[in-house]
Symmetry: C2
Subunit: 250 residues, 2 copies
Amino acid sequence: MRLLSLARDLRRRRARERNALFVAEGIRTVQELLASPLDVVGLLAAPKLEADPRAAPLLEEAQARGIAVLRVTEKEFRSAAETESPQGVLAIARVPERSFQPLAGRAKLRILVLDGVQDPGNVGTLVRTAAALWADATVALPGSVDLWNAKVVRSAMGALFHHHAFAAGAAELRDFLAAEGVALWGADQSGQEPRAGLPRLALAVGNEGSGLSAETRSLAERLVAIPIAPQVESLNVAVAAGILLYVLRP
Amino acid sequence: MRLLSLARDLRRRRARERNALFVAEGIRTVQELLASPLDVVGLLAAPKLEADPRAAPLLEEAQARGIAVLRVTEKEFRSAAETESPQGVLAIARVPERSFQPLAGRAKLRILVLDGVQDPGNVGTLVRTAAALWADATVALPGSVDLWNAKVVRSAMGALFHHHAFAAGAAELRDFLAAEGVALWGADQSGQEPRAGLPRLALAVGNEGSGLSAETRSLAERLVAIPIAPQVESLNVAVAAGILLYVLRP
């Protein structure tokens, strides 16, 4: 039963941080996880999973790779799952060790910075968008929802497993940008519409309600915005980041 | 109690269509609704609403405009609400009558077509994005989630109340495009990256899993796509639509 109580425990951010483990829920997400270089610790499978034709190959692959599969009841499964309709399968995996270090010295660089983005669906979509639009990394600053929250993992649609996304402190980000001479631009409705980016650039997007933090704002060399119709208060943060990453592509 | 049973009933699409009424949930959404030209029939308020400083002015405004306010228990409220944390307030309002007719004869035109988009959060974000990026209308074809679903209304952040969004049949869309000589472009990963649009253009986005329907595909003069990294299967549909509407702006 240890795998079940571990999965339950990992619903809390502190437990994920202490154990450097996270939970991926749903058939598609677990498939993406198994296809990634990440280290998978174990699977929980509920009876309902068997109804899906993708279940057997998935469980066989886990078996073949020596990944523990624990069969649990539907009730036990629900006690550990976080997302809606997790389809009777979840995986426990190791949070990959990622940092600024491999990003140093690149001639072209795009980093998406999440500055207090709090909705898990938005953060998952942001990671997926950054990965799709050729960003080298996504950095989640304190105040953002945990990247390894099950709902973020789910809505990132596998992008978290290969895209270089990680959490870092504001000072760490500042030091990296200064040491590498990389400019930070902040997305803010008061900013100017950008025409193109620089070869190396970090783009920060802020909280859904209050926008960029004062700290990030003061670090930003420029504020940029996509012009929008006056009746609408703002674009969704993932849509705004998508348009900006596209316009600013190196 | 009629307002309570009506709100409960309106959780079903058929009831919304039969009554031409819908439900808007949450303080912010109800505020946006009251500020819009839409006809508000009544409000349900639960005790928990009182804790919010925005509650009193909101209820006073409803009172002043002769809009019925029914006080209900938390349990009754929950029996009618659909979205997460609806904050103890919901409003029942009339679905506005909207059609292709006012879009005829315009020199510049942008229409976003939703072809089987099923996630309510995506559809709400699409409507918000279309409104923000100066589209004249959003048309939901059959197979898309109902525009007046409470979760769509919530995630559109008020955009449904002023943006010209409405449901229409595929034949109606085809007839309008033919009569007006407006081209339809379809978003599809096999398409080419567009550089600019035409003065008058409709852009169709498809289902989250299966993409455009065969019917919309055959109607499209061109397929367009935003190039993405090979490790990622697709962009989120609202992010893709946002980038395309931005690139294709008139």
